[in-house]
């Protein structure tokens, strides 16, 4: 029975896009009753993602031509280890957020909130958009998926309709739209040059000439604006910090990764030949800049959610270090693609950790009735589970063992030192220490014994437990890292081993 379900050709990949869309449509139709759909929908989504991953583990990477149409006309989906692991990470975070939000957006007895109505359709469309980005195998479908993601993400930020979050949403929208257009312009250039949009066809045809390089640069710049990589990070903190808590979790954990994912796909899968040492060193420099500046800014924030949002800016920097570090596989390492795997591991480990952190922070803010750091003093006694979740997530973000963050950092560091690029190693280590500085600034408050007990709003233990479970996943990823590692290696691009250019 089971082997049949995982055979090549069973469209788990398609299901992972169709199911959330269907749930979203049903949620619109059901209106206030949508919340009954949420848990079954989310769990089914998780099952599909796991099935897709199992399929890849069993049979390797494969392409699925939707409806049987082949490129250049049809739409192809590419399910490889990388895509499957992002599907699973998305499903894990989405399940956590769904469970967390189920009661948050419950319509109150007196009036039905617009946020309560809009959240669930947006949430599931976002999920579908994420999966479509991870699976997309041609540039234009990726554009559509990316826009789907942008629009739902912006709408989620604006969900509670306060003036400052509206402004943050508009700023985010402007950045994101400019980014999308830049991406689209690059797509047009590539199509003009090669007459193809399919990633595989492009890869076969691509040569390092001026048009290709220009297209790559324009697309990358656009995607970087969406990823909020330093110095294009200005929109992220207000948007991520201003959004409702579940939306913050989704945005910081997953949405920014989608555009990063495309940058990685673009350079490693499509245009490795067009990359030069200068471009990859530039990527690394931006990443290091993000780590340092993001952390320093996080250190200066007085609002809890802003600390976490700036931490996202910093953590995204690590992802860009994999560009200069690939291709440095020296003989003693048992890992052929240490830097590439490390970067991807970081993206995967960051997702549940950051989601857990935002959820825990949301609970603390609810309990205090105040988003600043100062009133958190002594909250360890009132919300022990949420604080513990925050602490575990912090361990992963600092890259301390045992956690997925550590495994990622270890791989990146090994790659940096093995290739003699010690300056990136120093950036990584400094980033870890800075992360400790801004996170322990928060953790300290949990343990302070306040002079008088502050009044706290009660918070359900179940919601705290969800944050703890997500944080636990990011820790577990550091101990049970063998399977994710093997999964990532399936269908990995050749450039992940040999390096760019």
């Amino acid at each position: 029975m089971l082997p049949d379900l995982l055979a090549v050709g069973v469209p788990w990949a398609v299901a992972s896009i169709v199911l959330p869309l269907a749930v979203a449509l049903a949620a619109i139709a059901l209106g206030p009753h949508a919340r009954h759909l949420v848990l079954p929908g989310a769990l089914l989504g998780a099952v599909i993602a796991l099935a897709a991953a199992a399929q890849v583990l069993a049979h390797g990477a494969w392409h699925h031509a939707v409806g049987g149409w082949l490129p250049p006309l049809g739409i192809r989906l590419r399910l490889d280890g990388l895509a499957a692991s992002f599907l699973v990470a998305t499903a894990v975070v989405a399940c956590g957020v769904a469970g967390f939000s189920r009661r948050l957006f419950e319509p109150s007895a007196r009036r039905e909130t617009r946020a309560g109505f809009a959240f669930w359709p947006l949430f599931f469309v976002m999920w579908a958009g994420l999966n479509a980005v991870f699976l997309g195998a041609d540039l234009f479908n990726l554009y559509v998926a990316l826009e789907l993601l942008t629009l739902t993400a912006v709408a989620m930020v604006a969900l509670d309709g306060k003036a400052e979050t509206l402004a943050a949403a508009i700023r985010y929208l402007l950045f994101a739209l400019l980014g999308s257009l830049a991406y689209l312009l690059g797509v047009a250039l590539l199509y003009a040059r090669y007459g193809a949009l399919d990633l595989g066809l492009l890869r076969a045809a691509a040569v390092p000439d001026a048009i290709t390089l220009a297209a790559g640069a324009i697309m990358t710049a656009g995607l970087m604006a969406k990823t909020a990589i330093f110095p294009l990070h200005g929109w992220l903190p207000p948007a991520h910090a201003g959004a409702p808590t579940p939306a913050s979790a989704m945005l910081s954990a997953l949405v920014v990764k989608a555009s990063f994912y495309l940058i990685a796909r673009l350079w490693f899968d499509v245009l490795p030949a067009a990359a030069t040492v200068e471009t990859s060193q530039l990527f690394g420099a931006l990443g290091a800049g993000a780590i340092v500046f993001g952390s320093l800014l996080a250190l200066r924030q007085e609002q809890l959610k802003l600390v976490i949002a700036y931490s996202t800016v910093a953590q995204l920097g690590y992802l860009f270090l994999m560009f200069p570090l690939t291709g440095s596989a020296a003989a003693p390492q048992p890992w052929a693609a240490a830097a590439w795997t490390g970067g991807m591991f970081h993206a995967l480990a960051h997702a549940p950790a950051k989601a857990a952190m935002f959820l825990a922070a949301g609970l603390m803010i609810k309990a205090c009735g105040d988003g600043r750091l100062a009133p958190l003093a002594g909250i360890g006694r009132d919300l022990p589970i949420a604080c513990f979740a925050f602490g575990l997530a912090a361990v992963s973000l600092m890259g301390l063992p045992p956690s997925g963050g550590f495994t990622a950092k270890y791989l990146l560091l090994t790659a940096a030192l093995a290739s003699g690029q010690w300056w990136w190693a120093l950036a990584i280590l400094a980033g870890g220490l800075l992360a400790a500085a801004y996170l322990f600034r928060v953790l300290n408050r949990f343990l302070i014994a306040p002079a008088e007990a502050a009044p706290r709003v009660a918070v359900a233990r179940r919601d705290q437990a969800i944050a703890l479970a997500l944080a636990g996943v990011s820790i577990l990823l550091g101990l049970a890292s063998l399977v994710p590692y093997q999964l990532l290696q399936i269908g990995r691009p050749a450039a992940a081993v040999g390096g760019l250019s």
Partner: protein
Amino acid sequence: MSPILYAATGAVLVGIGVFGLLARTHLLRRILAFNVIGSGIFLAFGGLGSRGPGSGVDPVPQAIVITGIVVALAATALAVTLVTRLFEETGAVTLPGEHPAEGPDAS
């Protein structure tokens, strides 16, 4: 008509749009500027459809442009909604921290 003309016109439109997006602070103008950029790109993309005389029309760019227009429409609708809401909440038509420029925006 050669694709070069479409491409050149498209490039001009993109240039105008980018200028508008960066130089103007009134949010409606920025949204319009975004649409101008989009039109420029669609125009250039659409121009790619004709691959020289006699070889017929490549349908892919046309399909893509239509999809792109729909996406841009959705984005514009969302943006306008947000701006309207911001105006209702605060009475501002610019992002906080940015002042309406003198001249055309002042009206």
